[in-house]
Amino acid sequence: MRTRRSGGAPSGAAPYLFLLPALVLFAVFMAVPICYTVHLSLRRTKVSGLGLGKGSRTEVFAGLDNYTAAIGDGELWAGWLRVLGYGLMVLVVMLGLALLFALLLDSAHVRLARFSRISIFLPFAVPGVAATLLWGFLYLPSLSPIRQVLDVDLLGAGTVTFSMANVAVWGGTGFNMLVLYTTLRAVPRTYYEAARLDGASELQIALRVKIPILLPAIILTTVFSVIATVQVFTEPTTLRPLTNTISSTWSPLMKVYRDAFVTGDVYSAAATSIVIAAISLVLSFGFLRVVRDRAFGEG
């Protein structure tokens, strides 16, 4: 962020007062819960005697036991693998389509651009639960117009991941397209005129001029999409009632939910959620680094 010179007058306590509500909310609803999760992740229940009666269950320090359990948990790893496959599909297809649509909308030779732009952004206004529900019904053999054309079990063990990825692509493409399109519209048209005068074709302008300009926005949307994908929860949870191919621990987040609220083991749920947070941070920073090294290697 560029710092700008503003207001010569001494500001005194005013900016801190203005920031107080945000800082209090941050402390209460972010800092404290995060610390509490870390605290819980280092503890476990100790059962003395038969575990009956008051005082027989106490909370004790567990060190890193919950973490070693989380890292050694095969069910969790299976979940990570499923989310990895799902996430790669979603990221590549969703961001690829968003980029394609943004470039097409920005090019000069498109009809119905307004209709297309609004329609593609429309799923942004549809909650994930409703989107999954709609597609879920569209996947059902008894209702589906898709199934009348395509004879594939869309909710089978081999296909359900694709079907779920489709829901995420459908819901997320429009927003990412808008971010990229907005960035493109802010570019002075003279850039393209110059390229055109040099004899560049529309395709070359898109690849050599527009995509490099879009790079920071592409990186930003990728990082946010990675964070969202690692936490996938709503889609598999909502699709579960319609098929028996999605387990209650299909994604790591679903396992956290089950551990905390069904099994009642908040300690291992806390450790798992810290692991999820760590992985999503590593992924997003790792991605940023790789991109920065490759794109700005000389700099």
């Binding site: 710092t3 700008r4 207001g7 007058a9 500001s11 005013a14 900016p15 203005f18 509500p21 945000a22 909310l25 941050f26 609803f29 972010m30 404290v32 995060i34 509490y36 999760t37 649509f101 097409l104 030779h109 009809r111 119905l112 307004r114 209709f115 609004i118 329609s119 593609i120 952004f121 429309l122 942004f124 549809v126 909650p127 994930g128 639960v129 409703a130 529900l133 019904f137 569209l138 209702l143 117009p145 009348q148 459908w170 493409t173 429009g174 907005t182 519209r185 048209r189 529309e202 964070i227 690692v230 936490q231 949870t237 909502t238 987040l253 939910y257 806390a270 959620s273 947070a277 999503s280």
Partner: protein, 293 residues
């Protein structure tokens, strides 16, 4: 220039429809994308008009005759709990977005227009919140709320969604662009205090940007599933997302309930789609030019 709806500009005129080197292919690709995005929504709009028998017998996009009876069924479903879910959602999304916009605007203004010790640190800490996965927050928030007796209350869904890093970021960008330093300086020379400048100069200038922040936050809360799903047990306090989920979980094996679920889904989509279509010019992801037109 970065509005969602484009004004007529020289650049716009240059976009005047002419046939490009790739023929109709670009248009065809975009229209295909648009149809794909419209498919589920248009399908449910038709499906909700079908009676129980028609749903499984007539062609997918053939309108039916059961819309009114479906709506009547929806209204009587568990004593009209569906409409209560709608009101709850409106309360969570409307109240939450309003508070969130206020907090974001004031914070963004302070971060954009004052220089003070710790400014960058505070900004980075507040923005860094966007990287924290929601489950790392929702589960301990639930546990902490239940210790003070606030779990399963309206507060438990409303309060955690007020602070939003993206809102603060947008507000800062918008305040930087829309509130001229000279104007604040003039006000200061005239003896206006910090609060007066905020109320009379900065916030009125920031209003268009605040509408955008309100809309994004409204949609984010309206669409949220995980937090209310974790916080609430009493179905009288559910928002529509959790309500629809429980309807589906109860009715997935009973095809006779499908009409009800589809009609409920359609009704739940109408307010947001209406808001979306009427507020086109405020749906922006970039506020750096300071003008929403």
């Amino acid at each position: 220039m970065s509005t969602a709806t484009l004004p007529i500009t020289p650049a716009g005129r240059r976009r005047a429809r002419r046939r490009g080197p790739y023929g109709v292919a670009p248009t065809a690709i975009l229209v295909l994308g648009a149809l794909y995005c419209l498919l589920p929504v248009s399908w449910v709009a038709v499906a909700a008009t079908k009676s129980k028998a028609e749903l499984f017998s007539t062609a997918a996009f053939a309108p039916g005759t059961g819309l009114l009876s479906n709506l009547a069924d929806l209204s009587t479903y568990r004593d009209g709990v569906f409409w209560l879910w709608g009101l709850n959602t409106l309360l969570y999304a409307g109240g939450g977005a309003l508070l969130s916009t206020a907090v974001s605007a004031v914070s963004g203004y302070a971060l954009a227009k004052y220089r003070f010790a710790g400014r960058n640190l505070i900004f980075n800490v507040l923005i860094g919140g966007i990287l924290v996965p929601s489950v790392v927050l929702a589960m301990p928030q639930y546990l902490l709320f239940s210790q003070i007796g606030l779990a399963d209350t309206y507060w438990s869904v409303l309060l955690p969604q007020i602070l939003h890093p993206y809102g603060i970021y947008l507000a800062r960008v918008y305040a930087t662009a829309a509130v001229p330093d000279a104007l604040l300086e003039a006000g200061r020379i005239d003896g206006a205090g910090h609060f007066l400048l905020l109320r009379k100069v900065a916030l009125p200038l920031m209003l268009p940007g605040m509408v955008t922040i309100f809309l994004f936050q409204f949609v984010a809360i309206w669409n949220n599933f995980l937090l209310p799903f974790i916080m609430l047990g009493d179905d009288q306090k559910f928002p529509l997302t959790v309500g629809l989920y429980t309807m589906l979980a109860a009715g997935a094996n009973q095809p006779s309930l499908f009409n009800l679920i589809l009609t409920g889904t359609l009704v739940s989509l109408i307010p947001l789609i209406a808001l979306f279509l009427t507020m086109q010019r405020y749906w922006r992801t970039d506020l750096s030019d300071g003008a929403v037109k």
